[in-house]
Amino acid sequence: MTSPPPVQARMPRGSRPVTAFVAALLATCVCAFAAVQAISLGLHHRTLGFSVHAITRLGRTTHWDAPAVLTAGIAAAVIGIGLLAAGLLPPRRRVTELAAADPRLAAGIPPAGLRRALRAAVTGIDGITAARLRGRRHLTITATTGLHDTTGLAEAIQATAAQRLALLARPPAVRVRLRREDH
């Protein structure tokens, strides 16, 4: 009995480190502040420059239907929806996945780096002085040339791009446009 072939490994998704760091920091600060205030309220002491009387006075003079209360409620609910979505929805993969021959190897390259490498490969072709890339799924390469005879140049660009993009797990469709250099 033969074992099934291993499934191609994929690059891990992000772990939302910035969102988590900010949320954890703010939550820790809020909890520390709440603990200090609760202790001070229980002991009827003045702490951290906040007067217990000022807080209770604010509670007595503010009504539930005050715009500030409504705004705070809506803001908390919106931030809550955002954090809930960040926790439940899978984060994006920040890299473009490469198709490795080894199923246990997951490889990826950041899209910006891939574009830099592709642009460098295109500008390395004889006669091409500059190249601009647009689009993701449908990639358009606009190459600038100073040559008068551009026979075969677009095909060379297409082939170079195809060779570099053949690495990708899902290579985009490539369209090549030639632009003559202004003299």
């Binding site: 820790t28 709440a34 009504h63 609910a77 926790g87 997951a106 990826g108 490498a117």
Partner: protein, 239 residues
């Protein structure tokens, strides 16, 4: 590499979001007068004050709850920079039940250094870092490789799949070792590597038209077969 932090982040963000959503919805509903009496009453009415005076345990209980939740948040904060790195890798698979059976371990940093040196010797590679995570019995390899702009990621991928990973797997006795490689292309200029320069590197070596003696790529598309012998030669040379 940060599996524990990723799990903790998902849970922490979901719980915090749920708590904020519930509190915000309750506050909004109370402010609109949908429950809890008329909305024109104050937040801290005399009845609430009398209730708190009659139950003095509420403030210490609230302080204790805030401290417990705060400590959980602090722990969440402290796991953020932590990476689940392995210190040692177990090389033998013996259970240690037989008399005299031993256990062989290898420092993970030593293996990581060898891998980094191997990758750094490849053409077009500026920097490489390797790390091992997982369990000592079932490690996982993480690679971050910074290449020159003109380096061909395909050659690097080919080196990983045909040379480096099979060698590491054989050395560790882990035929199923999983690996993750992140290839970063630097924005900086090409590092001069006259002896190890790959085909795309040589093509880009002279970017100015007016310099004599420079080589430019022909209009013919590069043939992957052209680069293959050179790569094999490099690999053979290292062995």
């Amino acid at each position: 590499m940060r599996r524990r932090a990723a799990r903790g982040n998902r849970l922490g963000l979901a719980l915090l979001g749920l708590a904020l959503l519930a509190a915000g919805a309750a506050l909004t509903a109370r402010s609109r007068g949908w429950y809890g009496g008329p909305a024109a009453t104050s937040l801290y009415p005399p009845a609430a004050r009398h209730y708190l005076h009659a139950h003095p345990w509420i403030w210490p209980a609230a302080a204790a709850a805030a401290i417990i939740i705060g400590l959980a948040c602090l722990r969440w904060l402290l796991i953020q920079p932590r990476r689940d790195l392995l210190r040692h890798i177990r090389l033998d698979t013996g259970q240690g039940t037989e008399p005299g059976a031993g256990r062989t371990t290898l420092p993970a940093a030593a293996l990581a250094n060898v891998i980094e040196d191997d990758l750094a010797a490849q053409p077009g590679i500026r920097r490489a870092s390797a790390a091992l995570t997982g369990s000592p019995d079932q490690p996982q390899l993480w690679l971050a490789v910074t290449t020159d702009t003109q380096a061909d990621p395909g050659r690097l991928l080919s080196h990983l799949t045909s040379d480096l990973l099979p060698g590491v797997r054989t050395s560790l006795g882990q035929p199923d070792l999983a690996a993750t490689a992140r290839i970063i292309t630097t924005r900086r200029q090409l590092r001069p590597q006259p002896t190890l320069a790959s085909q795309p590197l040589t093509r880009r070596a002279a970017p100015h038209h007016d310099q004599p003696g420079h080589q430019r790529a022909s209009r013919q598309p590069p043939d992957p077969a052209d680069t293959q012998p050179q790569q094999q030669e490099t690999s053979e040379g290292r062995r």
